[in-house]
């Protein structure tokens, strides 16, 4: 058999799962969709002594919209479910736009939003979307819960602020301000591959189409999702003219730190990031004005 032996439990309630992670601590791995964990177990790069399977906890699978416009998503909601969810399409268009870029339908049928966020792959789409939408995640443990902002959640390569006795239970996405446009795009060698470069833009404008706030977040541009806050700040007070967007795209180069790998050189990834930045900003501005 490919994976090393392990003990397996499949709690049917969150309370039961929290007790299990408290008892087993670092011996236990949480199994969400398994689309990243199972491959590394098949290679025996990961050999957890115990798997706590979260797939039989229905209370972690939901999408809700509150009266104040906040969207709340249970961490075990499948990516495919979100892709097809009317609330996501209507109220979080950026997430809706990014989901089809994640691998393939077969993977999204199993992959979950919480699993992808907690896995913290810097090349993944969902962590970028969490930061771009200024979202938070809820971390629960036995007898307590806390909220962590996306921007504070990612601490290093494949590393988050989640403690080993905590479970990521909910994602909270605040409503977008009026006259806000969003856009996401990426470049991959083949559809469904990990992207060489990708960027999400969120742009808010006033009545005169002048930018009042902006966020630009990059994937595969460092050890964590990279929010180019200084470059985005250059947009405030500006309209979407080409010179400004080009200057912003150049400024992002100070904040992203892509590395060379077998798929592309760092220089090429930087070039892509520049081109994609102009593209998403044009789109986001247009959408913000038409909002």
């Amino acid at each position: 058999m490919k994976p090393a032996p392990f003990e397996y439990i499949a709690p049917t309630s969150l309370a039961e799962a929290l007790t299990a992670v408290r008892q087993h601590g670092s011996d236990a791995s949480l199994l969400a969709g398994g689309q990243s964990l199972v491959p590394v177990m098949n290679f025996r790069l990961a050999q957890p002594a115990m798997l706590v399977d979260l797939n039989r906890i229905p209370e972690l699978d939901y999408v809700r919209r509150e009266g104040n416009g906040f969207i709340r998503i249970g961490s075990m909601t499948r990516q495919r479910t979100l892709e097809r969810h009317p609330l996501i399409a209507q109220y979080t268009p950026l997430l809706h736009e990014a989901l089809p870029y994640i691998a393939h339908p077969q993977i999204r049928n199993r992959g979950t939003i919480g699993g992808s966020l907690a896995h913290a792959d810097p090349a993944a789409e969902l962590p970028v979307i969490l930061l771009a939408l200024n979202g938070r995640v809820q971390l629960q443990k036995s007898g307590g819960a806390r909220w962590v902002h996306g921007r504070d959640f990612y601490t290093d390569l494949f590393t988050t602020a989640r403690a080993e006795d905590e479970i990521l239970t909910e994602i909270e996405l605040p409503p977008l301000p009026p006259r806000t446009g969003v856009a996401f795009t990426e470049v991959a060698r083949r559809h469904g591959d990990y992207a060489l470069s990708g960027v999400a833009a969120v742009v808010t404008v006033d009545e005169r189409a002048v930018c009042t706030a902006a966020r630009l977040v990059y994937l595969n541009a460092g050890d964590t999702p990279i929010s180019a806050t200084q470059a985005a700040a250059l947009l405030v007070g500006e309209q979407a003219d080409e010179e400004v967007l080009t200057a912003v795209a150049h400024a992002t180069q100070q904040e992203i730190t892509p590395t060379t790998d077998i798929h592309a050189t760092a220089d090429y990834k930087r070039h892509l990031a520049k081109v994609l930045t102009v593209r998403v900003l044009q789109q986001a501005f247009t959408r913000a004005v038409n909002e």
Binding site: M41, N42, L51, N109
Partner: protein, 160 residues
């Protein structure tokens, strides 16, 4: 390590088995049930050869443990044809359009296309190519697979 007893429905037949939790669903189907139509290529979720339907949706059976399928329904390529010599319309289209050469990737491709065509009965060529993006074929260059999918789609009674 403790074994688990699972009850699983495969191609309409429910069976109980006692297994180790580390047994992959793909290996369970092949070795425990003898359903060797589910092919195992890369065993890390890239090639799509092991695609099966899990509660009607295509998934990689090499990226799931059999124990996770407890109480669920699986369909493998063996569940497609009603009887020997009586191909499913999707299989028939693959035969007629030369949608396979060595055939290794074919079971995964059939089970990817079955729910895809049920949801998109009139797909464009581009949509078929995107739907197939998670299944690798090293023989055909994909053209005849796309032709076969479009031929199957053109026979709307398929799936009934």
């Amino acid at each position: 390590m403790s074994d688990h007893t699972i009850s699983i429905t495969v191609n309409g037949k429910t069976e109980e088995h006692t297994i180790e939790p580390r047994l992959l669903l793909s290996d369970f189907l092949r070795h425990q049930l003898g359903l060797t139509g589910t092919h195992v290529g890369c065993e890390h979720g890239v090639c799509g050869a092991c695609t099966v339907l899990f509660d009607g949706q295509p998934v990689r059976s090499c990226l799931m443990f059999a124990v996770q399928a407890n109480g669920h329904e699986i369909m493998t390529v063996e569940g497609l044809a009603k009887s020997m010599g009586n191909l499913h319309p999707l299989q028939q289209a693959f035969w007629e359009a030369h949608g396979l050469q060595c055939g290794f990737c074919t079971p995964g491709i059939l089970l990817t296309l079955l729910p895809f065509l049920a949801e998109n009965p009139r797909p464009t060529e581009a949509e078929v190519r995107e739907a197939l993006s998670g299944n690798l074929c090293r023989c055909t260059g994909y053209q005849h697979i796309v032709d076969a999918a479009l031929l199957a789609a053109s026979r709307m009674e398929f799936g009934n």
